[in-house]
């Protein structure tokens, strides 16, 4: 068996746990500060550092045959592909009628906006703003 995978003394795991808990505190703390558009990036970055620590140390990828890490990383790459193309599509799509909330944001420009602003408690009100594809 690959004893070398566990030869590192178990104290390293405690250090990693400490790092993970610190990063959790940092990410919670950061959530109370508004970095504007960087909020999401900071949160995902910290999460990625944590995930990398878990994968490398707790999941032993550091010592495993490279194929396991290749499988792990390629699943993330394909996930990236999956996010990228629909995002390109949705962001570059011409909307004949803009989505409901866009109308709320600029009420003067749109004819159906007042009805929505008057009845905020009724979710089905969005029905009037069906985007036509």
């Amino acid at each position: 068996m690959s004893e070398h995978a566990h030869s590192s003394s178990s104290s390293i795991y405690l250090i990693i746990l400490g790092a993970l808990l610190c990063l959790t505190a940092v990410t919670v703390g950061a959530a109370y500060v508004d970095f504007g558009p960087f909020n999401l990036i900071i949160a995902v970055l910290i999460a990625t550092v944590k995930a990398t620590l878990v994968a490398m140390f707790f999941m032993h990828l550091r010592h495993d045959p490279p194929i396991n890490a290749i499988i792990f990383v390629s699943s993330l790459i394909f996930l990236g592909i999956f996010l990228l193309f629909p995002l390109i599509d949705i962001q570059s799509r011409d909307r004949v009628v803009p989505y409901g909330l866009r109308i709320q944001a600029q009420p003067a420009a749109q004819k159906q906006a007042p009805a929505n602003g008057a009845a905020p408690a009724a979710p089905p009100a969005a029905a009037e703003h069906a985007p036509a594809h």
Partner: protein, 225 residues
Amino acid sequence: MSAETPIADHAAAHSAEPAFRQHHFVNAEQQFSTSKLGMWLLLATEILMFGGLFVGYGLMQSLYPEAWVAGHHHLDRIMGAVNTVFLLVSSYTMVMAVHSASTNNKSKTLWNLFLTLGFAGGFLVVKYFEYAHKFHDGLLPGRLFSYQGGGPPQQAMFFGFYFAMTGLHGFHVLVGMGLIIWIMIRAKSGEFSSAYYTPVDLVGLYWHLVDLIWIYLFPLLYLVS
């Protein structure tokens, strides 16, 4: 890669026939690394399955940022943070269980597995209180959404994602708890040793993935505004 082949000398393999070795493997090392490879492939499928929900969540957030902000204000950051700590510590106890199993320390293996189970249970208890609160306020998916406090209508969609993602994750926690109980029973009967602890290792990998997904779920659902 082309020259190396996984199966070593067949003659050498017959010298020792441990009980756990299955007939189609030449030796225990091959069986162990194959099991781990299989587990990593399974984890890759889990990542893509959860990934689908993350992609849907992200795309809808890009369309309805206001509804997403309003929705996540209804989530309790403290409870989320407590649960994060629970899962991180349980990951630590899990890796210690694997380590103890690989060093023939049966009682420590059992203790660490027991602690892991305890933290997992704690996670579900917190989750239960969170869910109960949402049910009480009517913060539910789609047409079940009956919250009276106003806000953008797409909050109903936000809570659709919230329940789908945390629900699927919670289901994985439950499955993980079942697996931990299963290896505890096997560990108790003394099946594992430094020569064979594959099931502990594999359940460990699974449990870390559950933690890993929560590491992303927590900031995306509870923190980002």
